[in-house]
């Protein structure tokens, strides 16, 4: 069944359905008696089917190369059953439509658009509303997913589907999409994928790579997810200029790496995550080094967390700014098998207490992490409960004052950078709250203070009648 628009209204809107059954050419469909499926079935391969505004029944299957173009945001409504659009043909383009109301069965992977054997599928500038999975693409080599607005279902996170799931698909381009309230955006066996300038928020894994090699991930903003991006069992990944912000799940990371080999990460921002960057067994190959260069780790509970056996990561030119714990190991023992400066260039550390007498921009003494409290957390993880308390600060202060309390340093940067290095501008997506609202809230607080204080002040001065004085 179609959407909620009354039939009579749709009748009125009926335009003759032109079925030009000759050559590849424009077909115009309007909501009405003839179903969208019929229109598609009647179209020839290579036709451009234009949907005018209105609601069309979903559950359609496209089994030939076809371009579906919406004008005035027509809605294809799945009616809460199954997938809304199924593509099983190469060279299909879907553009400018609203894809709404899929079923909600995780086991059936009910989706907005699902596809199989659909190379060069192009999904461009569509809106996905109340769908379990946004799109689930299989064998869609060279697919292009661009500028879509994907909103999931309002379900508990484990019951949600993925905003974007790509399976066995090489050379896909995922660019400029906004994914909100999904579960994950997953790339399985998706070699040479390009993920650029997407904004993924309020999900579980903003990006999830499994066995996807040679990916290029650039300029994405991944915020308020449980994990910004989790890359697993993949090789030769390039991550540049991404923003990982406020990913704070129970074991949440901005960027998590597991068994990744050949990572290049530069120009990324890790801000206000529980853990900015987490690496486990990455790189796994003993002859491989990972260069993490010119990234910003700011305001995370832990800036960088490395598994105890992790080695051969080279940190250079990064800025570590006011992370509660700048760098930590997930168990006791140092991080000495990783490099914290490279060719005389270390990192900027906001808590570096050294000096630079020769003004070469490099600190004259090494930067070391030897906080007693951090050390205690590594030994007794329960201690993390006290992170940021005055008592924890007192513990650190005590160990600074009494060197005998100072633990072995977990890392040493021999060439700490005095100044924050220059970075290209970070992409911004979160709309800053209007300064006016903040101003009003602040003035409201101050006014409340005045009102309370005035409540006492004016009480005794008024209504005192002095009789009899002349």
């Amino acid at each position: 069944m179609g959407g909620g628009a009354p039939r009579s209204l749709l009748y009125a809107a009926v335009v003759a359905v032109g079925l030009i059954a000759t050559m590849a050419g424009p077909v115009v469909a309007a909501p009405g008696e003839v179903s969208l499926q019929d229109v598609i079935d009647a179209a020839d391969p290579g036709d451009i089917v234009t949907l005018t505004a209105g609601t069309y029944d979903g559950g359609i299957t496209i089994d030939k190369p076809l371009t579906l173009v919406g004008e005035g945001w027509p809605v294809i409504d799945g009616g809460g059953e199954g997938s809304v659009v199924t593509v099983v043909a190469p060279d299909v383009t879907i553009r400018g439509v609203v894809i709404a109301n899929s079923g909600n069965r995780l086991d059936r992977e009910n989706s907005g658009i699902t596809s199989d054997l659909s190379p060069r599928l192009r999904i461009i500038d569509n809106r996905f509303q109340n769908v379990l999975f946004g799109m689930f693409l299989r064998h869609a080599h060279g697919a292009e997913i661009r500028d879509n607005e994907i909103g999931g279902m309002d379900l508990f996170i484990a019951r949600r589907g993925d905003g974007i799931r790509i399976w066995q698909t090489t050379d896909a381009v995922v660019e400029g999409n906004h994914v909100a309230n999904g579960r994950d955006s997953v790339f399985w066996f998706a070699d040479r994928v390009t993920v650029r300038n997407n904004h993924v928020e309020d999900g579980r894994y903003g990006l999830h790579f499994m066995y996807s090699d040679d990916a290029f991930v650039e300029g994405n903003v991944l915020e308020n997810n449980s994990v910004g991006a989790f890359l697993m069992y993949s090789t030769d990944l390039t991550m540049t200029g991404n923003v990982f912000r406020s990913n704070r799940g129970p074991s949440g990371y901005g960027l998590g790496l597991k068994d990744v080999d050949g990572l290049t990460a530069s120009g990324n921002r890790f801000v206000e995550n529980r853990v900015g960057l987490y690496a486990d067994n990455s790189p796994s190959k003993v002859d491989l080094y990972h260069h993490l260069e010119s990234n910003v780790f700011a305001f995370n509970n832990i800036g960088v967390l490395l598994g105890s056996t992790v080695a051969r990561n080279v940190f250079t030119g990064n800025a570590f700014i006011d992370n509660s714990v700048q760098v930590a190991s997930d168990s006791t023992g140092g991080l000495l098998d990783n490099e914290w400066s490279y060719e005389g260039v270390g990192n900027h550390w906001s808590d570096f207490a050294g000096f630079d007498a020769d003004s070469d921009g490099i600190g004259d003494i090494a930067y070391q992490i030897d906080n007693l409290f951090t050390d205690l957390i590594e030994r007794y993880p329960e201690m993390a409960f006290f992170s940021g308390t005055p008592a924890a600060q007192a513990v650190d202060m005590a160990s600074k004052t009494f060197p005998s309390l100072r633990p072995e340093p977990i890392l040493t940067d021999d060439s700490p950078l005095i100044r924050i290095p220059a970075f290209p501008p970070a992409p911004m997506t979160t709309e800053a709250t209007s300064g006016l609202v903040v101003l009003v809230a602040s003035l409201g607080l101050l006014l409340a203070a005045l009102v309370v204080m005035a409540g006492g002040r004016f009480r005794f001065s008024d209504r005192i009648v002095l009789g009899g004085t002349t």
């Binding site: 308390t389 005055p390 970070a426 101003l439 003035l443 203070a449």
Partner: protein, 289 residues
């Protein structure tokens, strides 16, 4: 309203009106008290300084960054608000006793309960003003620098800080109504401050190291402390959960889920009610005029 006209005007046992009269008097006293304004100004200056220094170059981190500012504000509140509220409460009745104004109040047809509750409400109003001044200043600096700010979070943190001050004021007044000398009261207030801010946590930390305290016991022990209850409620307001706080945080999330904030509020409320209750009992018992 059909009050019997001409009924004998024997005062009722408890009159809210008197609580209000005394509270207004206390607020007026505070508004004339140099120390109080020094506290307020200091708190506002520190809170303002945090918003000015904690917010970094937006080019560097993209948008956002208020979380860090808010966390710094929480740390500031943890130190300053208990100190303010405890000393304010502990000094107040002792000061009234020393200046003889307590006798002035008590020789009126006013019960000791009314005097104590009025004092408490008045001090609570004064702390409200102090807290809102601080957070208002922080927000104002933020707004003037167009720094990213979450006004809802700002107001929630102000409210939590005030709740913390209510509990601390209760303890301060309890000290004030049991101890006669103003200097002893001040000393006790400082000791309590040291305990709730540092010693309590350090003690639990030591126990963790010595006995590997189970996380459930750790969470329960820490939660008893009103300052920690404030911190955990603030962390929930900031992060939505306690997941960043290690195994004990995860335990709390698993065990209590969204109830953590309510537990924290409950702890502060329980301290407030029991401390004020005990203060009333102690003050009623006293021959101390």
């Amino acid at each position: 309203m059909t009050a019997a006209v001409g009924a004998p005007t024997v005062p009722r046992t408890f009159e809210l009106r008197l609580v209000s009269v005394i509270a207004r008097k206390v607020i007026r006293e505070a508004s004339r008290d140099r120390w109080f304004w020094l506290y307020c100004a200091g708190f506002a200056a520190l809170a303002g300084a945090i918003t000015v220094t904690a917010v970094p170059d937006q080019n560097l981190i993209g948008s956002g960054g208020f979380g860090r500012t808010a966390a710094s504000l929480v740390a500031l509140v943890q130190l300053v608000v208990p100190l303010m509220a405890l000393t304010l409460g502990a000094r107040y009745l002792a000061g009234e006793r020393d200046s003889g104004t307590l006798v002035f109040l008590l020789c009126h047809p006013v019960s000791r309960t009314e005097v104590l509750l009025g004092t408490y409400v008045g001090l609570a109003g004064s702390m409200f003003a102090a807290v809102t001044t601080g957070f208002g200043a922080a927000g104002l600096f933020s707004a003037l620098r167009s720094a990213p700010t979450d006004p809802v979070l700002l107001v929630s943190l102000a409210a939590l800080s005030w709740l913390l001050s209510l509990a601390m004021l209760g303890i301060g007044l309890l000290i004030s109504s049991t101890v006669r000398s103003a200097s002893t009261a001040l000393g006790m207030a400082l000791f309590v401050w040291l305990s709730v801010v540092f010693l309590g946590d350090l003690g639990v930390m030591g126990t963790v190291v010595a006995t590997r305290l189970p996380v459930s016991a750790l969470f329960a022990t820490v939660m008893v402390n009103p300052v920690e209850a404030f911190r955990l409620a603030s962390v929930v307001a900031l992060d939505g959960s306690l997941d960043a706080l290690g195994p004990a945080g995860t335990y709390a999330v698993d065990r209590f889920g969204d109830g953590i904030a309510n537990i924290a509020l409950g702890v502060m409320a329980a301290w407030t009610v029991s401390a004020v209750g005990a203060a009333v009992l102690a003050f009623r018992r006293g021959d101390q005029t």
